[in-house]
Amino acid sequence: MRFMMLVKASEESEAGVLPSAELVAEMGAYNEQLAKAGVLLALDGLHPSSKGVRIKFDGEKRTVTDGPFTETKELLAGFWVIQVKSKEEAIEWASRAPFDGGTELEVRQVFEASDFPADILPPEQAAREDAIRAGLEANAAKQ
């Protein structure tokens, strides 16, 4: 199972205040733990929303709005993607993050193919039965 651990923005992160050297070091150690345990897939920090844009979809129309955005608690400052065996394991890893001072982490499961019922995932490939190419790329069948 894959989970995204989302770090909520704070007034400091939105103001572009960089974290202290101490926090950066602790964060490095934490990331290393995740990597060494083989569960870390991706991670990144996000610039403040003042550098971001929002795009709204309405029919053919696309409306682009420049940041910053209000409602700090709805904004994100960074994320990790981890691959673990259970939600509890994701929570356990999330709890070990070196945060303090009211920071909030949100843990969300990432959709995987098996989460989609067949009627939502159309059988776009099923018709293409030129499957003798299995014989062609013998190994490809496994890849």
Partner: protein, 427 residues
């Protein structure tokens, strides 16, 4: 937090900490079976105490401290017993001096311990089945029940395999160490083989299967990534990780809605997992960089990862670098000669340089005993012959392939192509 919440948390902590815990304990007690027992005792203590006291701030350290106390008690009791026996005038032959407890407890090189545990669990003195079971159990923290479900065998069989494996290691006096020099390469290939076996066991299962089997893929990937962290200078470790990441990146695209397999060239590339592809390409690059730095030739996993990468880099099937793939198969054949590798090379050659070139190589494989009952050989020959307009020969090959395959769906397709050839059409 309710008691059952706490139990689930403990289970999660166990998954995260058990391998490190067991690895640290083996160094103290020098016995995998005993180390696992001590770790389990600590787990039982947590199950008893944490629902009351709450989960400690650093659960891993708590488990390690609890287990170490028990280990020390045990060793002290043993030493007292040995002294008693000596006092009684018996001669005592100890093969190994009791470890200097304090010194052992001072050290805290968990990474080395884990690496030693990997090499011990995958020791060639054990059967392949035993290596797989022990690795999943000790490194993956999987229960006997989970391993049994994944391998579709009775739980008692797995339990017995693990017990026997631990006994075999003890009886063979397998040292708890990372081998050096020439032995390292041999032993490492056993470790990589076990991880890749676990991966393939999960990967060959279809999506609709019991969740435990696809979970094996994730477990193998995790073990591979752990190993890459522990042995960062070994190119083949990165090669294997790269191969597994790229293969896993296709899991969403390789089965259709009813669970039928979708072949690589027919897959919707938009459904590939580009996070995993990125990781796979990075791992491959690392493997190739280290190989170059050592001035050596790339190993089989690195080459297979490079082939997988050629497909991963192509945005459409038409953009596939078939000449590159053919060259990689040639290199692979040099490292691990096999008729199946040659057959794949024939396909790549056909894609790169036309069906006649591929057919020339496929024809040379016709008398290969290993491919006598392998339906892919006539399947490939049939396809190449059809492309060359030699429909009658192609039809015979397709019919032969159909008679050899054990897969009903595939047989239908092969017979359909045979009929097409009979009508003088390529497909």
């Amino acid at each position: 937090m309710t008691a059952s919440d706490t139990h689930r948390t403990i289970e999660a902590v166990w998954r995260i900490e058990s391998a490190r815990l067991i690895a640290g304990l083996v160094r103290i007690v020098r016995d995998i079976g005993l180390a696992e027992e001590l770790a389990q005792d600590a787990l039982v203590a947590a199950l008893e105490q944490w629902p009351e006291s709450g989960v400690p701030r650093n659960p891993g350290a708590w488990l390690m401290a609890t287990a170490k106390h028990r280990a020390i008690d045990l060793i002290r009791r043993q030493q007292r017993l040995e002294r008693k026996i000596e006092e009684l005038g018996h001669e005592l032959e100890t093969e190994q001096p009791a470890p200097e407890l304090d010194a052992v407890l001072e050290e805290d090189d968990i990474d080395d311990d884990l690496l030693r545990l990997v090499f011990t669990a995958c020791h060639p003195v054990l059967s392949t089945d035993a290596r797989v079971a022990l690795t999943l159990r000790l490194l993956g923290g999987l229960t006997t029940k989970e391993i049994a479900r994944a391998y579709l065998v009775p739980e008692a069989t797995v339990a017995q395999r693990i017990v026997r494996a631990k006994k075999t290691l003890a009886e063979a006096h397998v040292p708890f160490e990372v081998p050096r020099g020439e032995e390292l390469a041999d032993r490492l290939s056993s470790v990589l083989e076990v991880i890749y076996l676990v991966f393939n066991e999960g990967y060959s299962a279809t999506a609709g299967d019991d969740w435990m089997r696809p979970a094996l893929c994730e477990e193998a990937l995790r073990l591979g990534r752990v190993l890459a962290g522990l042995a960062p200078e070994e190119p083949e470790v990165h090669g294997l990780v790269g191969l597994m990441e790229i293969q896993a990146s296709r899991s969403r695209a390789r089965t259709g809605p009813t669970g039928e397999p979708v072949l690589l060239l027919d897959q919707d590339r938009g459904r590939w997992d580009y996070v995993l592809i990125g990781r796979g390409l990075a791992a491959l690059e690392r493997a190739e960089r280290i190989t170059r730095a050592h001035g050596s030739a790339p190993g089989p996993y690195t080459l297979q990862a490079a082939i997988a990468a050629c497909h991963a880099r192509a945005r459409t099937p038409e953009e596939t670098n078939w000449a590159g793939i053919a060259a990689l198969y040639e290199q692979l054949a040099g490292v691990t000669p096999s008729p199946v590798v040659e057959l794949n090379r024939a396909v790549a050659l056909a894609m790169a340089y036309g069906p006649a070139t591929g057919l020339a190589l496929a024809d040379r494989l016709a008398d290969e005993p290993a491919l006598k009952a392998y339906h892919l050989l006539p399947g490939v020959r049939g396809d190449l012959l059809a492309k060359l307009g030699r429909f009658e020969e192609a039809r015979e090959e397709f019919e032969r392939a159909a008679s050899l395959t054990r897969n009903g769906r595939e047989r239908t397709l092969l017979l359909r192509r045979a009929e097409a050839c009979a009508r003088g059409e390529a497909s």
